[in-house]
């Protein structure tokens, strides 16, 4: 072993346990080490980066997280929140007592009426658990016994940009780290040659209203940028710059890297800067990624049965189905967090037609992903979350008929489901009124949902902080937010 490297590792480890900051007031060592301005990061020899000392806080139920975000806000009463009584309310005004003067967006606040638009889709009790799902998601019905359906999620924001920022970073104001970045920062990476946090932004039906995504939904905010989510892309390089330029093959790169390593070691002798050692190992990691990423995206080793399970688009790079199967492959390879952000769920008008297209995209691959994880024994270690940034209104936006309607934003309740490590299987949690307008039982704020996710991963959200702007920042906000005991296995 290189003596300089050995020395450096020793130094770093020692500093790890001693702390080296200026702060004298008992600030957690972990925070010190993660501080943005902290000049010396632990070297990443081998893995991408290690867990913080003391992490996880307790034995985790899940090692990995898959977060399926339906961007634009799916209509809960057309998918999962069955409201049979609404049929008799067709085109009747939403009772004032139900709306109760709650704020609504300026897109519908000028409407003369708020006529109820019952869902036109049929619902069915599924599996042994009898969880209700609509005909829009026939494949998800098959995994009903694996999920906990939460019908009472609520959020603070009423418009997309702040709500998307909130659901992913716990704050409506940009600048905070995303959930996946927090997790990478705390738990580190298991993989030797892939990033700890990977993001997909798949294609979506052309007819749909493409609400925007924001890189802040997977970026590291005030945490060091190495905790940014890495986008795995459907076209071009799957990971940015992973391909050698034309005319350069891996052996050319190897020659270059060997020389670079030698020269950089001389630089280390010259200046003694431990960052130089880190850089040497990061170049080696980069080289490994140049082979691990193509291997990852090559579906040649998948069985026909598996591919069929994900549906007809599975081989189409950039599709949701393709992202879903790659998600499983990433989890197999030790990637900590994978997020798929599927766009096009913002149906202010023409909802029945458009939501069908959305479901065609995601229903089968989502169900397949859960089944596939389960058949490989990965589901018990993996937490899967499915949801959007808020819900939609029971009253119609625009023209109403039995067959066609639109729905505005509704932050006061919406559905999300979770499955896998740490979560009860086959239950429903929380309840809403007959109008799917107010929560009547067991509300779950997004901060509590995030606390629950962290809990499953072995993290106490209250102890997981980072100093920024004069505060010990947390994903779950300043106020206390506790995991939802009722859904924990």
């Amino acid at each position: 072993m290189n003596p300089a490297l050995e020395y450096h590792q020793l130094q770093t480890r020692r500093r790890f346990f001693q702390g080296a900051g200026l702060k004298v007031g008992g600030i957690a060592l972990a925070q010190l080490l993660g501080h943005r301005a902290f000049a010396v990061q632990p070297p990443a020899v081998g893995g991408v980066h290690p867990a913080l000392p003391g992490f996880p806080h307790f034995a985790p139920k899940a090692k990995n997280l898959i977060y399926l975000h339906m961007n634009g806000a799916p209509a809960q009463m057309d998918l999962f929140d069955y409201k049979p009584k609404m049929q008799e309310f067709f085109d009747k005004d939403l009772p004032a007592s139900v709306r109760n003067k709650q704020r609504i967006t300026t897109m519908t606040s000028g409407q003369a009426r708020f006529p109820v638009a019952p869902s036109k889709f049929a619902f069915e009790r599924c599996g042994q658990s009898g969880i209700l799902m609509s005909e829009l998601v026939p494949h998800m019905k098959e995994i009903a016994d694996d999920v906990t359906m939460i019908k009472s999620v609520h959020t603070d924001a009423i418009n997309h940009d702040p709500a998307c920022t909130f659901v992913m970073t716990g704050s409506e104001v940009p600048g905070k780290p995303s959930l996946g970045s927090w997790i990478s920062y705390g738990l580190g990476s298991e993989s030797q040659d892939l990033p700890a946090f990977v993001v997909f932004t798949p294609t979506f039906p052309k007819a749909s209203q493409a609400q925007a995504l924001f890189t802040r939904m997977w970026s590291s905010g005030f945490l060091p940028s190495k905790y940014d989510g890495v986008a795995l892309r459907g076209s071009g390089d799957p990971v940015l710059y992973v391909k050698n330029p034309p005319g350069v093959d891996p052996s050319d790169r190897r020659v270059m890297l060997d020389a670079l390593g030698k020269l950089n070691r001389k630089t280390f002798e010259r200046f003694g800067d431990p960052e130089t050692q880190t850089r040497i190992s990061q170049y080696e990691m980069a080289f490994r990624m140049q082979s691990s990423v193509p291997e990852l995206t090559d579906l040649g080793t998948e069985s026909k049965a598996t591919l069929e399970m994900y549906g007809p688009n599975v081989q189409k790079p950039g599709s949701y189905a393709n992202s879903a199967i790659l998600t499983r492959r990433l989890i197999e390879r030790g990637v900590r967090t994978v997020q798929i952000l599927h766009r096009g769920w913002d149906q202010h008008g023409n909802l029945p037609k458009l939501i069908k297209g959305q479901c065609m995209d995601v229903d089968q691959p989502t169900a397949a992903l859960v089944k596939d994880l389960k058949q490989r024994g990965l589901l018990e270690d993996t937490l899967v979350v499915f949801g959007g940034e808020f819900g939609r209104t029971v009253y119609c936006q625009g023209k109403l008929s039995k067959e066609n309607y639109g729905r505005d934003h509704h932050p006061r309740n919406f559905c999300m489901w979770m499955a896998g490590g740490g979560i009860k299987a086959g239950t429903t949690y929380g309840e809403t009124d007959d109008f799917s307008y107010n929560i009547t039982e067991n509300p779950v704020h997004l901060n509590e949902l995030n606390a629950t996710i962290m809990h499953c991963l072995g993290i106490d959200n209250h102890r997981f902080t980072f100093p920024f702007q004069g505060l010990q920042q947390r994903l779950t906000g300043v106020e206390d937010a506790y995991p939802v005991q009722g859904i924990l296995a």
Binding site: V24, G26, A39, S225, V248
Partner: protein
């Protein structure tokens, strides 16, 4: 054991009993702040047991015989009893808080109470203290005296001066963000004078690239970007502000002015364009245009962003906490926060940015070169005016009103359409314009007439952008229409353009066409349709349709709804009576306007002659006005004056065009009537509490007395920020500049000088620097030079294992600063050494190489920044400062090297070290293309032998010559590549063709490819991506 870096305190550190003295700020406050103040601090609402420990009075108060702290008496101090309690319900801090005191913490608190529990005001809130420069032999620069004085006490010595080749590269990268050329390195090496270093610094500060580099740091603070940042994230035109920041650094605008202009440039007396542009600082915040948004929420958020940003940038305080509740740690109450907020709460920008690039308030800033263009036009205009003046003197004028007998009225007819439209632009609605001759259809007069058919829709022939047709006095229009008897139209309309289509007459079912408000000049209902099957003359007075004498019509339209009809012989008739016409008779004109506003006068003349009847004019005045009348009003000289005035009009149009093309930039302005501000309870936009007025926090210096005639405004706030006795502004500013050069500030938490922030490593030095900065009239360049001429800056960065262990973060500066270059510098350096760099300064953001699908997967469907359209040519090689910054999807070369996305203010960038960076530097097209261009330079400029070329190349990228073993490694690699590419020419050609620049055809592809990979290797060296 690693070192705990604490400030040295000037007072004796030991008490008479030999015990080390405990200091509140240094030792105690951090413990209390971390563990106690959240519940026992200044936030009244969340205070537990009504006990506060952040003030001595509160801590000492006797509560039923119990005192939280009894100075000098541990036994009687309830705090201590709680700290050491074993009872879970008693112990402090409570287990639920997840906070715990260490044994060391407890010891500090114990001794502090024993020593008398003295409190101190938080260090950064106390006024700047004049500091004695320590006497340390061998130091010239006071910075070194302070630093080395400290090193001595730690038993350390400063490092030796770095090698000149290292130094010259360090200072170039630090001042202009670009590496020196080998010639520049040589020049410095050759200059043995003791002034060489200082002169080089001066020289670099004199370059325009200096401002470009310094501006970057400020733009991070200002959160400057080229898009709005939220939802659609459309383009915003803000770049004149960015360019102003560059200029401000180049002009060395003093920091106090720099502050005033940005916080309140719009409020300065008669603000210059630059001052207004600078006020855009407060318009750089992210904004939304998302449908459905609630207005109050966004007005509130923008004001909060502006307040928090200003407080953080100038005062280093994190005011954000006080948005929702009294600051738990710093003495900033919620009410005080909203008093600051009130300064920004009346900004005139709307809640919805409208998703446009010119959300008001804006100004238009002349583009570079526009001032010259405008000056040239002005000169031409002046010349033309002189021509007019000369022509006017030649007019032999006789007033028709003075003739005897008086001249007779004359009838005059001007045709506006006969056979054709005047010269201008034609547009039609419906089938193309069709004329018929007498043989083909109805013609009223002349050779031909218009015929038009419209199928159940509006049809029209529209003429526009013609030479102005002037409305005569008493003008009466006529037009001839032929309605097809079998298929007549439902409505017939004539429209006029005078700066807008606002004058219309219509016959028939006017609502069918519908434009304009009916029964106004916009749509005069003239009654039923004319008879069918014959030519009918339609008449209407100019006055009826709102056209006044002198109005200049530049367009008109013949419009119909459905049916078929003909149009012909259109014009205006008027009767002229020279003896009564003010455009012909001086006397009439002179007397007509008495007592009313005379529209023929210029503002200046009107002001001077206001209230003066002609009888009272003296000779000079009479002459002056007569000349004005002849020039501008008199219609009898149109043949001589006409061409000249038309020329002037054309020049004025050109000038307007230039002004129209001037760049838009957002500026700050306040509403005419200020909004009432309130404390917003729990930071909710819809939950106003107590009213607040503008003011500053009580723990800082007070504002001067309020002016009698107005409220405090942002200018008062800006002036207050840069007062000499403000304890924070100068400290925060110098600390940030220090951080820029040394990597870490003297206060590491450069954005937080509050009690949650860290203490300065060298508090005396910080105060000395801050005071000098103020004494030097906030001169930024002088301050930078002070730092760069220190030995501390010029030291070698080499670190021994022992020193690394003792001071891993280099807070004591016993070695020089070494760290990874910023994103922009890494790219600019590659462009510079490859010779690709295009040094054009300023302008709209450019779109260099970017991999596909960075913008597209996130962009909103209708966003105008959804699709990335890569630029061409120069745009690919501009400095990174000019790369278009889309906040919701920033350029990967920026983001992966820790450049912030500018959604909010950023005081210190991270310096990560990741595999993604390695992939980018190896494979990104911009870096590969730069490597190939560098290879071309190596082959053409680096000599003919491989070892010469290696020497040249190495020196170009590192500024030093390679050691022999380094050169050997390169030689070996080169040999390998040469033989590989000689065998695979196809691969070589592919590699060198990568990028839009064309590979040099004179060079053998296998050689160029091999050197390209060598250059790629060099540009990836740790030494090259770092300042050393």
């Amino acid at each position: 054991m690693s070192l705990k870096i604490l400030p040295i305190v000037a007072v004796l550190p030991f008490l008479s009993n030999g015990e080390e003295k405990v200091f509140f700020n240094r030792d105690v406050r951090p413990i209390l702040s971390e563990n106690c103040f959240a519940c026992h601090g200044q936030d009244a609402k969340h205070r537990k047991a009504k006990l506060r420990l952040d003030e001595r009075a509160g801590a000492l108060v006797d509560r039923d015989g119990v005192r939280a702290i009894a100075p000098g008496d541990l036994e009687k101090s309830e705090v201590w009893a709680r700290i050491i309690s074993k009872d879970e319900d008693e112990v402090m801090p409570p287990p639920k808080s997840h906070k715990k005191l260490t044994a060391a913490d407890k010891n500090v608190l114990k001794r502090w109470i024993e020593q008398g529990a003295e409190y101190e005001v938080h260090w950064s809130f106390t006024s700047l203290q004049k500091q004695q420069v320590p006497k340390v032999s061998g130091t010239e620069n006071p910075i070194d005296a302070f630093l080395q004085d400290r090193l001595l006490t730690e038993g350390l010595k400063p490092a030796e001066t770095a090698k000149p080749e290292i130094l010259v590269r360090r200072v170039y990268l630090d001042l202009i963000g670009l590496p020196p050329t080998p010639a520049e390195v040589d020049a410095f090496l050759a200059d043995k004078s003791s002034r060489a270093w200082g002169e080089m610094i001066d020289g670099l500060m004199g370059r325009e690239t200096y401002g470009e580099h310094m501006a970057r740091y400020w733009l991070d603070l200002a959160r400057y970007a080229d898009t709005h940042g939220l939802h659609l994230d459309n383009e915003r035109s803000m770049w004149p502000y960015r360019d102003w920041v560059v200029r401000a650094f180049n002009k060395n605008l003093p920091f106090d002015e720099f502050t005033r202009w940005q916080l309140a440039g719009d409020l300065l007396p008669k603000p210059t364009i630059d001052q207004r542009v600078a006020s855009g600082f407060n318009r750089c915040n992210i904004t939304t245009g998302e449908g459905g948004s609630i207005k109050d929420e966004w007005i509130y958020r923008y004001a909060v962003d502006r307040t928090s940003t200003a407080v953080e940038v100038w005062m280093g305080l994190t005011a954000g906490c006080a948005v929702c509740h009294d600051h738990k740690f710093d003495p900033l109450s919620t009410k005080e926060y909203y008093s600051l907020y009130s300064f920004f709460h009346s900004a005139a920008d709307p809640a919805m940015d409208g998703n446009k690039n010119n959300t008001p308030p804006i100004i238009r800033v002349p583009r570079p070169g526009d001032d010259k263009r405008l000056a040239a036009l002005d000169a031409e205009i002046a010349k033309a005016h002189k021509g007019v003046a000369a022509a006017v003197t030649k007019i032999k004028y006789q007033d028709p009103a003075s003739l005897d007998p008086l001249p007779k009225p004359e009838r005059k007819k001007t045709l506006w359409f006969e056979d054709d439209f005047p010269k201008g632009k034609l547009q039609v609605t419906g089938p193309p314009l069709t004329f018929v001759t007498k043989e083909q259809g109805p013609v009223f007069s002349g050779k031909r007439a218009i015929t038009r058919t419209a199928k159940n829709a509006t049809g029209q022939d529209v003429f526009s952008e013609g030479t102005p047709l002037v409305i005569p006095k008493g003008g009466k229009f006529f037009v001839h229409c032929y309605l097809d008897p079998d298929n007549p139209p439902e409505a017939v309309m004539v429209q006029f353009y005078v700066g807008g289509w606002k004058h219309r007459v219509v016959w028939g079912a006017h609502e069918k066409i519908g434009w304009g408000n009916v029964n106004t000049h916009e749509r005069i209902d003239m009654g039923p349709l004319p008879d069918k099957g014959k030519w009918v003359r339609l008449e209407f007075s100019a006055a009826k349709v709102g056209l006044k004498p002198g109005h200049k019509v530049t367009g008109y339209a013949f419009t119909q709804f459905s049916g078929k009809m003909g149009w012909d012989h259109f014009g205006v008739e008027s009767t002229t009576n020279p003896a009564k016409d003010p455009t012909l008779s001086w006397k009439v004109w002179k007397e007509q306007g008495e007592g009313v506003r005379n529209k023929d006068l210029t503002d200046d003349l009107r002001k001077r002659f206001k209230g003066k009847v002609p009888a009272k004019w003296n000779k000079t005045q009479e002459k002056e006005l007569h000349r004005h009348w002849l020039t501008n009003v008199y219609s009898g000289a149109s043949e001589t004056l006409g061409p000249l005035t038309r020329k002037i009009a054309a020049l004025e149009r050109k000038k307007a065009e230039v002004n129209k093309n001037a760049a838009i930039t957002f500026v700050m302005a306040d509403l005419p009537k200020a909004r009432q501000s309130y404390v917003m309870i729990r930071g909710q936009y819809d939950n106003p509490g107590e009213k607040v007025s503008r003011g500053v926090p009580a723990f800082l210096p007070a504002l001067p007395a309020k002016p009698k005639d107005r409220d405090y405004n942002r200018l008062d706030l800006a002036n207050w920020m840069v007062r000499d006795d403000h304890p924070l502004t100068a400290r925060v500013a110098v600390n940030r500049i220090w951080q820029q050069f040394f990597g870490t500030g003297l206060v590491r938490t450069s954005a937080d000088f509050g009690t949650q922030g860290e203490l300065p490593s060298h508090s005396e030095l910080l105060d000395w620097l801050a005071l000098r900065f103020i004494e030097d009239d906030w001169n930024m360049q002088r301050f930078v030079k002070r730092i760069l001429t220190s030995h501390a800056y010029r030291q070698s960065t080499k670190v021994s294992p022992a020193l690394l262990e003792k001071d891993p973060e280099n807070r004591l500066l016993a070695r020089g600063p070494r760290h990874r270059l910023d994103a922009e510098v890494i790219r600019d350096q590659a462009l510079s050494v490859s010779g690709l760099l295009v040094s054009t300064i300023g302008g709209r953001g450019v779109l260099p190489y970017q991999p596909p699908n960075i913008w597209e997967p996130v962009g909103f469907g209708r966003s105008n920044t959804r699709f990335y359209k890569q630029g061409k040519g120069d745009d690919l090689y501009r400095r990174s400062l000019y790369t278009f910054l889309k906040r919701t999807a920033p350029a990967p070369f920026m983001a992966s090297f820790d450049a912030p996305n500018r959604e909010q203010s950023c005081t210190a960038r991270g310096r990560s070290n990741t595999p993604m960076q390695a992939l980018q530097l190896m494979n990104d097209i911009q870096h590969v293309e730069a490597a190939r261009n560098l290879a071309q330079r190596i082959l053409k400029e680096g000599g003919v032998k491989d070892n010469q070329r290696i020497q040249w190349a190495w020196r170009t990228v590192t500024s030093r010559r390679p050691a022999s073993d380094e050169a050997k490694i390169i030689t070996d690699v080169l040999k390998g590549h040469l033989s590989r590419y000689a065998e695979d020419l196809e691969a070589a050609k592919q590699l060198i063709a990568y990028g839009e620049s064309v590979p040099d055809k004179e060079l053998a592809p296998h050689e160029l490819a091999s050197w390209t990979l060598v250059a790629n290797l060099l540009l990836n060296l740790d030494e090259v991506v770092n300042k050393n």
